[in-house]
Amino acid sequence: MKKVFSRPKSLIDRQTHFCPGCTHGTAHRLVADAIDHFGVQEETIGVSGVGCAVFMYDYFAIDAIEAPHGRAPAVATGIKRVHPKKIVFTYQGDGDLASIGTAETIHTANRGENITIIFINNTVYGMTGGQMAPTTLLGQQTTTTPYGRNFQNDGYPIRMAEMLATLEGVAYSTRVSMHNAKEVLKAKKAVRRAFQMQIEGMGLTFVELLSACHTNWRVKPLEGQKRVEEELIPYFPLGVFKERKGKDFL
């Protein structure tokens, strides 16, 4: 009988620390799938941001490093410039990538560093206990927006995939979701595409994954998936915002 489904070998067989129902596990799996798909497990170096995703090295069977909060793209730049043939990716949350590390994100993208950024957008700070993120939706209650995010005080939720698509150095910018099986399959294709383009040397590839954080949203897991579909996607539309077709930048 042909085996059609198994744990990616780039993923260590270990129970994660993520909350039950958290989609970080799914996102890890999608990245490991891409690494396996291209057979680059021994050629890959991962850079984790600070937040729930910091323990990358506990779950991925690859070389990995922890970056200071928000600095993963700069650390990845240093690694990639030393090892231009290796596959280098960052895995960052919304606070890491779109708040404290916005400058590193934008300038790494603008330099067109040939790396892949996996961006988990769950509209909240997870590890620190549910504070407002740069992607928190207007009206969303968090532990630091107890009356709901108000644009007059807190500004607006930031759309990173669209913003990065405007930069010449970016080869691929997409937003996908993981709220149901169908979307997970699309997300898998997007992550693979991003790694493929890196292998082809096309420039920076960026995959934003809409993710649920039931614990800090204070909802049940299924309600969280529903919120992604009904509240997040209308503000953070899914789609490909930029996809380079060739090395047209050279």
């Binding site: 991925f60 922890e66 700069a74 240093g78 290796k86 300038h107």
Partner: protein
């Protein structure tokens, strides 16, 4: 080759880094150290190296962190406000035990301050500077020759201890031109680093981290770091002494100030006052032992700095309370003159009447 060439301090330092095998520079412009990135932006591409003008000093130090984690010698340089921005990254480098060179051509502070010569960053450099319980290896050149030599030494020590190293100098050393002998035979091949991240081909995956959450794990890590710093204090203290044997008092000064002090010492000698000097070359580890032993025989110490008294504290920690200690400092871009120092020497001489 022993040919002498006339070089600016910043350029000598950049040449020293290249001689040390450093091929990766990441930095952001700030006066008075711009000759370093400008020179390396031209030279590194010629020898297969990489130069990136980063978007900030925060990005610079994290690029150094990434490159260093990948197994190569990497560096950045900056001044004042930029060095402050790098403290986060340096703390992470110390925590994940990564080597790397940070050059601080100091500028006056606090704040934006000015670009005049100063030694105001002594505390920041020698106390770790960032958060957490760690130290940087800190080297203080006093000549353009040493800008070259100590750049090489800094990389050696940084790799030996897997800890960030800093060259601490000022605008005089950075901008002044002096004759330098470049030892061209010194084409260093940096050591192999089995801990480096290279992709896990042929071995188990490995990682570099600074987060330790399990009970006792962080404490064990901090104690390991402490052992390393103790070893540094035992094995790699560098200093220069001058005329200590028959002196009646001695000066402790580092960097530029030690050069000025040499003139003051000559002037004092003409007046019949015999003054020696200890010049710390490593500011961390600090040459505590030699200062302590010298002060036992010659219990009169004058500390001169271009700040309001920072290294002074390390000297105080090195000597007994009974030792007569005097401090003279010029902060904010003021430069002590030999006459200033001679005046201080005379005060000590008259008070003590050695």
């Amino acid at each position: 080759m022993t040919e002498k060439i006339l070089l600016k301090g910043n350029i000598a330092l950049a040449k020293g880094a290249i001689a040390a095998g450093c091929r990766y520079y990441f930095g952001y412009p700030i006066t008075p150290q711009n000759d370093i990135p400008e020179y390396l932006s031209a030279e590194l591409p010629k020898i297969g190296g990489t130069f990136i003008q980063a978007e900030s000093e925060i990005a610079s130090i994290n690029m150094v962190l990434g490159a260093s984690a990948s197994g190569v010698r990497a560096m950045t340089s900056s001044s004042g406000p930029g060095i402050s921005l790098m403290q986060e990254g340096m703390s992470y480098m110390a925590g994940s035990e990564l080597p790397g060179l940070v050059v601080n051509v100091m500028r006056v502070g606090p704040g934006l301050g000015g670009i005049a010569p100063t030694q105001g960053d002594y505390f920041q450099a020698t106390r770790g500077g960032g958060h957490g319980d760690y130290f940087n290896i800190v080297l203080a050149p006093a000549s353009v020759q040493e800008m070259f030599d100590l750049a090489i030494k800094a990389f050696e020590l940084s790799d030996k201890y897997r800890n960030p190293a800093m060259i601490l100098c000022d605008a005089i050393l950075g901008q002044m031109k002096e004759p330098v002998v470049l030892e061209e035979t010194k084409t260093v091949i940096p050591p192999l680093k089995p801990w480096a991240l290279t992709g896990s081909k042929g071995r188990k995956p490995q990682f570099l981290k600074t987060l330790y959450l399990s009970d006792g794990e962080q404490e064990a890590h901090n104690l390991e770091l402490k052992e390393k710093y103790d070893r540094l204090r035992e094995e790699d203290v560098l200093f220069e002494t001058k005329g200590l044997d028959d002196s009646e008092m001695f000066i402790v000064a580092f960097g530029t100030v030690s050069r000025i002090a040499k003139t003051a010492i000559q002037m004092a000698k003409r007046e019949g006052i015999r003054v020696g000097m200890i010049r710390p070359i490593t500011l961390f580890p600090f040459p505590t032992e030699v200062i302590r032993e010298t002060a036992k025989k010659t219990p009169r110490v004058l500390v001169v700095e271009m700040n309001t008294g920072q290294m002074l504290q390390d000297v105080k920690l090195s000597i007994e309370n009974s030792v007569k200690l005097r401090f003279y400092g010029r902060p904010g871009g003021g430069i002590p003159t030999p006459e200033d120092m001679l005046r201080e020497i005379r005060v000590m001489f008259n008070e003590e009447g050695f």
